[in-house]
Symmetry: C2
Subunit: 203 residues, 2 copies
DNA sequence: TGCCTCCTGCACTGACAGTACAGTATTGCC
DNA sequence: GGCAATACTGTACTGTCAGTGCAGGAGGCA
């Protein structure tokens, strides 16, 4: 019972790193069991097939991702009375968190799975879609709170701004990987942050 | 001579669509030769191995990508005397081009290959890096031209703004794929465009 | 006529995703 | 202590896939 869960999560941990580095199609089960120290039968005891591994991997990643955002923006909201200041602090904290990763962001599974879509079943595609919609909802709520107080200098709605933040995050990950400049992502977040500041400035 | 080139480019065309839909690891050579109508030996006559296919695929994609940007921003520059107006027109043309694609952007090979990096040789990783650096150079030159005339409202340099545009493009592709909203990318470009307008407005 | 380009056909190898199923060690519960 | 569920191991197999090696053939062109 307890031991089973531990083995399962060890497989997922090894698999996540491998998938982010080599893609899902480039990650073999044989390789995962070798690194985890179990047998093939053991692997298939935990996951019916590779698709089920993908599903578990994605769900685990999304849960962790949400927890990180809850922590960062929750803490920022507690520290600041003003929603704009809280959001700006949250972005700052996020960029600092990413700067502290020595090898940069390891990659986003949602993005990795976007480029593998046709080989996954419909359920995984929906989990991926829900994750992107959750980002939109999360950030959109923050922008709505800000807009209740501050008038933006551009006629943008909260959803558009939320999607822009998601885009900058996802694109920043891709770009920092392609450029081999781990700090590029944290930098992009700060630039977006100063844009938000400008957008809601009364000057 | 002529016939060989034609077969080779037919393979590349089929392969590009497959790789963007299923990832490189999820695309089999058997599948490519079935769709192209040649034999396995024929495939290996044109490409030594799958890595060389990847290289040719990436180079072809980047050349095409550069040609599109040359066309769009070149035309915009001819139509407008002012570099800011030319850039804003270019972004508008780009978003319209992407809106006209019925299924949305098919995906960026540079991004797809980022999530497969460890299985490619060093050369491919460098081609990918050069492509991202070329985007930076291209957009940076435009921002420099703009900044020679207009003072930005934020203390950003041209490279940072260039990388932000690349991020929005790459992230917009990922997000529109994840959300299954093909128009999301074009929308993001227009939002970035209005940010640029605000940044260089004298108001 | 002969060489070069552009393939086809065939017969392999080794890695990998499963499938099937029998057996076993450990653990929790009654 | 016995029993059953959990969490595996071991073995043996299938089909797909990347890649190798090599012989040979069709068509163009010099």
């Amino acid at each position: 019972m307890r031991r089973g869960e531990e083995t399962r999560s060890r497989i997922l941990e090894v698999a996540e790193a491998a998938v982010l580095a080599k893609g899902f199609g480039g990650t073999s089960i044989d390789e995962l069991i070798a690194e985890t120290g179990i047998t093939k039968s053991g692997f298939f005891y935990h996951f019916r097939d590779k698709n089920e591994l993908a599903k578990a991997l994605l769900q685990r990643y999304i849960e962790n991702d949400e927890r990180i955002y809850d922590d960062i923006f929750g803490r920022a909201r507690e520290l600041m009375d003003d929603p704009l200041q809280a959001f700006l602090l949250g972005l700052k904290l996020l960029s600092e968190l990413l700067s502290d990763l020595p090898n940069g962001h390891p990659g986003c599974l949602v993005a990795a799975f976007c480029y593998y879509e046709r080989l996954f079943d419909h359920e995984i595609q929906m989990i991926n879609r829900d994750a992107a919609l959750a980002w939109r909802r999360r950030f959109s709520l923050m922008f709505e709170e800000i807009m209740a107080i501050y008038a933006p200098r551009l006629p943008l709605d909260a959803d558009q701004l939320a999607d822009m933040l998601s885009s900058v995050l996802e694109g920043g990950i891709v770009l920092s990987k392609a450029l081999r400049e781990p700090n590029s992502l944290a930098n992009q977040i700060l630039i977006f942050r100063s844009f938000v500041k400008l957008l809601f400035s009364s000057d």
